[in-house]
């Protein structure tokens, strides 16, 4: 198989000006993979700085309430910066330091990857520029605030749909100018090789931990593992702990307002995606007959993306990963249930995984276990979630606060 391919998916469709940059990146990445001391350095950093290993929480109330499989929740919400994103970013930070580059750039949609990258840059002493769609800047002001406070420059992107894919294009435009000093910290297991493989490798820390933890707590492998899928890095992270076991892996995409509408972001289910090549890689893209990317929708900004990890396209095509979709409405119901039964507040993205687990757990035996990868925490996104619930007292608070700023 060709380098950087997973089945027919992946590759490195990069402009010639980046050829030398990718030669260097591939060399350095290969060195990291061959250096056992590097992985230990990474584990130590994540343990000391980022609260790893994150717990695998037994959700006893939720399990009993649904009356079927025992439900375990992998708590990436307790990772530093509140999501799994830090795993990839800190790993790439170590890589950047080895390459001797002094500046990092990144794209961000919801802002989680931007905040994680700005955090890493502060810790390692790198200059940092974050590209973010103008629409996302408006939607995710709190994350913009933190990125700026952490010392990053946030550049609003006004091209295209002014969302994640446009931020990626703009980050590439920066990179083709500045590659000598700058590393592009790609945020998910997408993009040109080696990014899908490298990001999945750093995220595999989730699956390695979860595998040990479920054996310790449940005594054997789980029956199923659920993860939400935007670009796919949290899903790839946890799935890698169970790929070679008899464990069913379920990826849950953004069903938005329904697969029968044009307002969703489901690539592997539904009929709006087709094989394509964009943003440096080949995968299933939400696109029209001409190959123009479609607009996408999800209640969760982190799932609102046209492409999907080429590794997941391949695992889906092989039938190793089953894909499902959760609608915006179902997501809020699952989020409510998780809060009320367990006192746990998953991010809207992670709540997609909860939806499918909650649907399936009651039909499973009580001696079976399932794991939900809770990729991030929801309380940090209070503006988005309170808005999604259309909460009257929250709205009044915002109105009053705005009035007090006006005075």
């Amino acid at each position: 198989m060709k380098k950087g391919y997973f089945g027919q998916w992946g590759g490195a469709f990069i402009p010639e000006v980046l050829h030398a940059t990718f030669v260097q990146l591939n060399d350095e990445y290969k060195k990291l993979r061959q250096d056992p001391a590097f992985w230990q350095e990474y584990i130590d950093l994540m343990g000391n700085y980022s609260c790893r290993p994150t717990p695998l929480t037994f959700a006893e109330n939720l399990s009993d309430y649904l009356g079927g499989a025992r439900i375990y929740i992998k708590r990436e919400d307790l990772n530093h910066t509140g999501a799994h994103k830090a795993n990839n970013v800190m790993g790439q930070g170590l890589l950047v330091r080895r390459m001797g580059k002094k500046r990092v750039i990144a794209e961000t949609g919801a802002g989680q990857h931007g905040v994680a990258t700005a955090t890493m840059a502060a810790r390692f002493g790198f200059d940092c520029t974050i590209y973010m769609g103008e629409e996302d800047v408006a939607r995710q002001r709190p994350n913009v605030f933190w990125m700026e406070k952490l010392g990053a420059t946030v550049v609003p992107v006004t091209n295209g749909s002014r969302t994640l894919k446009d931020a990626i294009n703009e980050a590439f435009r920066d990179w083709v100018t500045t590659m000598d000093e700058t590393h592009y910290v790609f945020g998910t297991a997408c993009g040109p090789h080696p990014f899908p493989e490298m990001v999945a490798w750093f995220q595999s820390i989730i699956g390695l931990e979860a595998r040990k933890q479920i054996i310790a707590q449940h005594g054997r492998m789980p029956a199923r593992v659920y993860a939400c899928v935007g670009g796919g890095s949290n899903a790839m992270g946890i799935f890698q702990g169970f790929l070679d076991e008899d464990v069913e892996l379920i990826g849950v995409e953004a069903g938005g307002k329904g697969l029968d509408t044009d307002q969703h972001a489901s690539r592997m289910v539904g009929d709006r995606a087709a094989p394509g090549v964009a943003q440096g890689y080949k995968t299933m893209f939400l696109q029209d007959d001409d190959g123009q990317m479609r607009s996408t929708h999800s209640i969760a900004a982190g799932l609102d993306y046209v492409g999907i990890s080429p590794i997941l396209s391949d695992l889906g095509e092989q039938g190793r990963v089953r894909f499902e979709a959760a609608t915006d409405t179902e997501v809020l119901e699952a989020l409510t249930m998780s809060m009320e039964k367990e006192g746990i507040i998953p991010a809207l993205e992670s709540s997609h995984a909860f939806v499918q687990a909650i649907k399936e757990a009651p039909k499973m035996d009580r001696d079976e276990a399932i794991i939900i990868n809770m990729s991030g925490r929801g309380d940090k996104d209070i503006f988005t979630i309170a808005h999604a619930f259309d909460d009257p007292s929250w709205k009044q608070f915002i109105i009053d606060r705005a009035d007090s700023y006006r005075r």
Binding site: P15, V17, N159, V176, G276, G291
Partner: protein, 258 residues
């Protein structure tokens, strides 16, 4: 006649050739036609017809906006083929090439796209996001059909890489004058001349130099060092500001003895 032979023949009577660029459907196909008419009348040798794409990663703000506006007006790939076919018939003295991003070709079907491009009389295709490593079938099919798959040299290319890349391509090599995206100015300095000497040493194919070429001085500097100057963003800017009628004078001015 093969594109590189045609370019060499033209170079027997000209100091430097010109390739211009436009985004199809921007601001309209009618304007595109008028612009091409003026370009052809003023001796342009090659024209890149860019099929708009929603994710033009290698382009700068001016061309990005032109792509977006064209798509917003409803431009389809089919319209681009139909228009290109008309232009090839109407202006036989010009070599037309499609420029676009690989997904447009991939989605259409690589073979089908190239066969149709050859059938309507295009000379080649320029795909900035398809490196030779990923384009084996595309390069092969293009050459079988007599189309030139254009390759790129960049300031970051090693001598070895230049030779490798040029060996895969045909027609001419597109020499990217500097790092970055289309549209920003390129300084014509000693660094650039050294780089052009390296390009010249790496291939027998004609060299077309682009990215930031906008004035008579820029073109004059390339005479004797390159075979073709590529004018991209500058004409789009001109049309945005002064309308299609300004194109003829601008093109003539690029070639005038200063």
């Amino acid at each position: 006649m093969k594109l590189d032979d045609d370019l060499r023949r033209r170079l027997e009577t000209k100091k430097i050739l010109l390739m211009t660029h436009l985004v199809l459907g921007y601001p309209s196909f009618d304007t595109n036609r008028e612009v091409i008419r003026q370009m052809a009348a003023n001796g342009v040798d090659c024209i890149e017809l860019q099929i708009p794409f929603s994710e033009p990663m290698a382009d700068g703000p001016v061309i990005v906006k032109a792509n977006q506006d064209s798509l917003a007006r409803g431009t389809r790939v089919e319209d681009c083929f139909a228009f290109a076919a008309r232009m090839v018939t109407e202006f036989p003295q010009v070599n037309f090439l499609f420029m676009t991003y690989y997904n447009i070709v991939f989605r259409y079907g690589e073979t089908g796209f190239l066969e149709r491009a050859a059938e309507i009389g295009l000379q080649g295709t320029i795909l900035p996001d398809l490196p030779p490593e990923e384009g084996e079938t595309y390069f092969g099919a293009s050459k079988d059909l007599g189309l030139a798959p254009i390759t790129f040299f960049t300031p970051t290319s090693t001598d070895e890489r230049m030779q490798e890349v040029a060996g895969r391509g045909a027609g001419f090599v597109y020499v990217v004058a500097r790092r970055g995206v289309t549209g920003a100015h390129t300084e014509m300095d000693a660094g650039l001349t050294g780089y052009l000497d390296r390009c010249r040493a790496a291939t027998e194919l004609p060299l077309a130099v682009g990215f930031g070429i906008a004035s008579r001085d820029d073109v004059a500097m390339l005479e004797g060092r390159a075979d073709m100057a590529v004018i991209g963003t500058a004409t789009i800017r001109l049309i945005d500001e002064k309308g299609a009628a300004a194109v003829g004078g601008f093109i003539a001015g690029l070639l005038q003895k200063g």
